[in-house]
């Protein structure tokens, strides 16, 4: 068990190293920082002084290690637009994003998982077909189209809800609905297929053959086993809480992390982009780690496998 966790922790750390490396490589490949900041007309001696001051004349591997050091200390640079530390800009946007993604996460789970389980237990029924059709629609209709359709119906035609901004709780309804519908469809489809796979297993047949009531077969044999793949996708959804609303925030002019990211990319505000990238990586890695730990508890086989891996 301890070994399993140790391996997972090692992998998580490795992923962070990879993300930081990715950021470093992309940052260095995209051009000479001295030229980018001082402009092409800067005199050579100023450029040289700048390079010296920021360690850009050091060997590349030295800069790479330096970069790690800076990130470990939380020095993620300043926004080119207003000179404030990038990390501050990003952190102050997080509550707005969570105000959308947390309720949406709740609705996704509350709608998607029961729908998927029900559809699997009543395979071929009208409700199963309806769930599957909605699930396919949820996959093929991109979130920006869904968002615009909701705006068209509920804001433009019916005039019930505002189409954008962040002035009251009513402004959050359409963005949350957009996020929830798409996510619930994905989750329903996933839960259904996980459940169907489990229901086809011999141990389910054994359980019902030895006379266990169907309700109990489902609750104590099928559901715990179907939970394992479902937890994976839930973990991914938790990991995207911070930056999973990029498109939706843009459509609804919601001042969250996603909107900040889009604006920063358009302005090539590198410090902010890099900061969000690292933050997302941290959240993803943490939630994957939690999922791995949950696996350890949900599935004793994985613990055994982990010990050999």
């Amino acid at each position: 068990m301890g070994r399993y966790f140790a391996i997972r922790m090692g992998r998580a750390a490795l992923t962070i190293v990879l993300v930081v490396t990715f950021a470093f490589v992309v940052l260095r490949l995209s051009g000479d920082p001295a030229l980018m900041i001082l402009g092409p007309e800067a005199p050579p001696e100023v450029l040289a002084a700048f390079r010296k001051a920021w360690g850009l004349d050091e060997p590349i591997w030295f800069q790479y290690l330096d970069y790690f050091g800076a990130i470990a200390k939380g020095e993620l640079g300043r926004s080119m637009r207003d000179g404030r530390p990038a990390i501050e800009l990003v952190l102050e946007r997080i509550p707005a994003t969570l105000a959308l993604t947390l309720p949406a996460f709740f609705f996704k789970v509350a709608l998607g998982i029961p729908a998927g389980i029900y559809a699997a237990l009543h395979r071929g029924s009208g409700i199963d077909r309806a769930v599957m059709m909605t699930a396919v629609a949820g996959f093929t209709v991109p979130s920006f189209v869904l968002a615009l359709l909701l705006v068209l119906v509920f804001a433009v035609q019916l005039g019930w809800l505002p189409s954008g901004g962040q002035d009251s709780w009513r402004h959050a309804i359409l963005p949350i609905a957009t996020l929830s519908l798409g996510g619930a469809a994905v989750l329903a489809r996933f839960t259904r297929s996980a459940m169907l796979e489990v229901l086809g297993q011999p141990y389910i047949r054994t359980a019902s053959a030895k006379g266990v009531p169907w309700r109990k077969v489902v609750t104590s044999h099928a559901l715990p086993n179907a939970a394992i793949p479902t937890v994976t996708i839930l973990g991914f959804m938790v990991g995207t809480l911070i930056a999973g609303a990029v498109v939706v925030e843009s459509v609804f002019a919601w001042p969250g992390v996603g909107r900040l990211l889009v604006v920063a990319v358009a302005n090539r505000d590198l410090a902010v982009v890099q900061c969000i990238l690292l933050l997302v990586a941290m959240t993803m890695v943490t939630s994957n780690l939690i999922v791995d730990f949950l696996y350890g508890f949900l599935d004793p086989r994985l613990r055994a496998k982990g010990a050999h891996a």
Partner: protein, 285 residues
Amino acid sequence: MTDATLKDTTTRRVSLPAIPVSVALAIGWIVAMLVIAAFAEKIAPYGYTQLDLRNRLSAPGNVAHWLGTDELGRDVLSRLLVSIRISLLIAFGATAISAIVGTTLGFLAAHFRGVVEQLVLMLTDFQASMPFLIMALAVLAFFGNSLPLLIGLMGLFGWERYARIARGLAISANAQGYAAAVRQLGATPARIYLRHILPNIASTLIVSTTLVFPEVILMESGLSFLGLGVQPPMTSLGNMVGYGREYLTRAPWIMLAPATTIVVTTLAVSVIGDWLRDRLDPTLQ
């Protein structure tokens, strides 16, 4: 090989007459899209940047502009046709790149094992655990934007799935008689993998392609919608929806035509993919 050929002919005999209506419709739609992509500028009634300032925001259904016009009087139908071409070009280019990159890495992992395999597996884990949109946005922020870069970037999408599948299948193929036989005959590794193993695992890889392809379309249209993908004056489906958003109240048709095209196209590819998977994927039978 005889076994495989025999199996092929039997499945073909059974499966050919039984194409469901939905799959036939989906194939028809995709063929139509391909024809449109190939001849977009010839079919289009107007140039896609041609202005008609006297007919700005005119509603669909009139003879001059079947699907109406946008805020500059540009013909929505003509723009739609050209957008389909650009979006499909990106989607096909990107899908081809990711299939080639992923399969190659999967084969390398299966061939060399050891450190190479661990490295490839680490990269697939990394790719699978990071939201692609965020990484794509980061690259675009650092490098600016151009069509080749966009295609290359989208080509990084989904490669990890091919890599995993190709690795797994190649490892099991290597353990089978036919691979050992050609190896004994002195074939080079490249020949074994490309001429013998690849054809045998192609069906599973093709099924993955149908899963990745619609996601590439959605990803590209999402980026273009945000104004960070295909740049004007060039146009793509997502790009059109993005611009149409500003005229949502007065001229919803600008946005509805490309949005419908995106949805129907992704749906069609998914329908074909599901059907192919049931037909071809031996792991499901």
